[in-house]
């Protein structure tokens, strides 16, 4: 009973605190104040720019000036708006917030109601892709890309006229462009096989572990 109440209160805590923290970040507050005098078209343009930037496209200062040239915003307001929206999105992607919580927290920030839906839609559409891109670029040790194997039986050699010894030859291609080719005897092969099977089983068991349910 004690453990379940503790878990319920920590979950409640997760829901209570907004995804941007206990207080809104300064750049977001500034962006909200700029929003009151922004036209819907400019807002739409800003959203598109932010999403492209998050996807990795470069925006230098000339491009920025060009994009905002025909809008009603002066340079410092445009900068404030772009930075605030970008900051908001980056925090939301990092915390992996659900769109519903995103919408709820936007209301706390005093976003104009008309724009909240538009932002949430944009967020929903790009969230999955950006999370995938983040996991793709994570630091990792080289992984196995390809495995080729063969089984041999050593019939005889210069030291023994009759030795029927089986062995496994393996060629592993790794993601760092190296190729490892090596042999193992049957005992070592069984050990490797057992360890791989064991880690796969442990991975499956981990996913069932209730204490790790954070989604």
């Amino acid at each position: 009973l004690a453990r379940s109440t503790l878990r319920m209160s920590s979950l409640a805590l997760l829901d209570d605190i907004s995804f941007f923290g206990p207080t809104p970040p300064a750049e977001v507050k500034k962006a909200v104040s700029v929003l009151s005098k922004t036209t819907p078209e400019t807002f739409q343009k800003t959203l598109v720019l932010v999403v492209n930037y998050l996807h990795g496209s470069e925006i230098d200062s000339d491009l920025f000036t060009k994009e905002y040239a025909e809008t009603e915003l002066d340079r410092s307001s445009a900068i404030a708006l772009f930075t605030g929206i970008y900051s908001l999105f980056r925090l939301a992607i990092r915390k992996r917030v659900k769109p519903s919580k995103f919408k709820h927290d936007l209301a706390e920030l005093r976003f104009p109601a008309s724009m909240i839906d538009e932002i949430t839609e944009t967020f929903k559409s790009c969230q999955h892709e950006l999370e995938e891109a983040a996991t793709d670029s994570v630091i990792r040790f080289p992984t196995v890309e390809d495995i080729k194997w063969r089984v041999d039986i050593n019939i005889s050699s210069s030291s023994t006229a009759l030795s029927l010894r089986p062995s496994v030859l393996m060629r592993m291609k790794l993601t760092n462009n190296t190729t490892q080719q090596f042999e193992m005897n049957i005992f070592r092969f069984h050990q490797l096989r057992y360890y791989v099977a064991k880690t796969l089983k442990d991975m499956q068991d981990i996913e069932q572990l209730a204490i790790l349910k954070i989604d």
Partner: protein, 166 residues
Amino acid sequence: MSEDNGPAILPNTSKFKAAIQLMNEVEESKFPLLLNRIIKKLHSKKEQPFSEEEKEQLVDVLGLNLSQLNSILDSCAFIFEQAAYYTLHPNRLARQLHEAELNETQCIAFQKVWKAEGNNFISELKEQSLVPKVMDTVKYQLHLQMAQSNLSRLKEPTALFEQEEI
């Protein structure tokens, strides 16, 4: 049981015959110890059965000079290697040695040592491989990634394997 001993395994050269005569003169009590040491170290290509200092000691103990000692050590090693190649039974080995005019006591010493250590030696030889990389041990770690710099609340299991080569 037929008397046919199969192909002659030991050569009929004068050098080998001279070595046999030298072996015949080694003291009975010392010969088995010599053989034991030789067969135990024979499978490793890097280690010699006797180091240089030990060879000096043997030269004094057995009353031979260095070249005679080397001849004896090499011939014993050769006899064991041939026995391993043909997977000889200890009795057959003894008979082959007898035909090569080795003394009875020395033949029995060979037979005893071969009976005790022969199978081990043959299996060590079988394990030898010409392949440059042979995998020795595997170690593994199972990790669960919980977060990274641009993403939190993750649950990604990863396995790390470390393979060592002999």
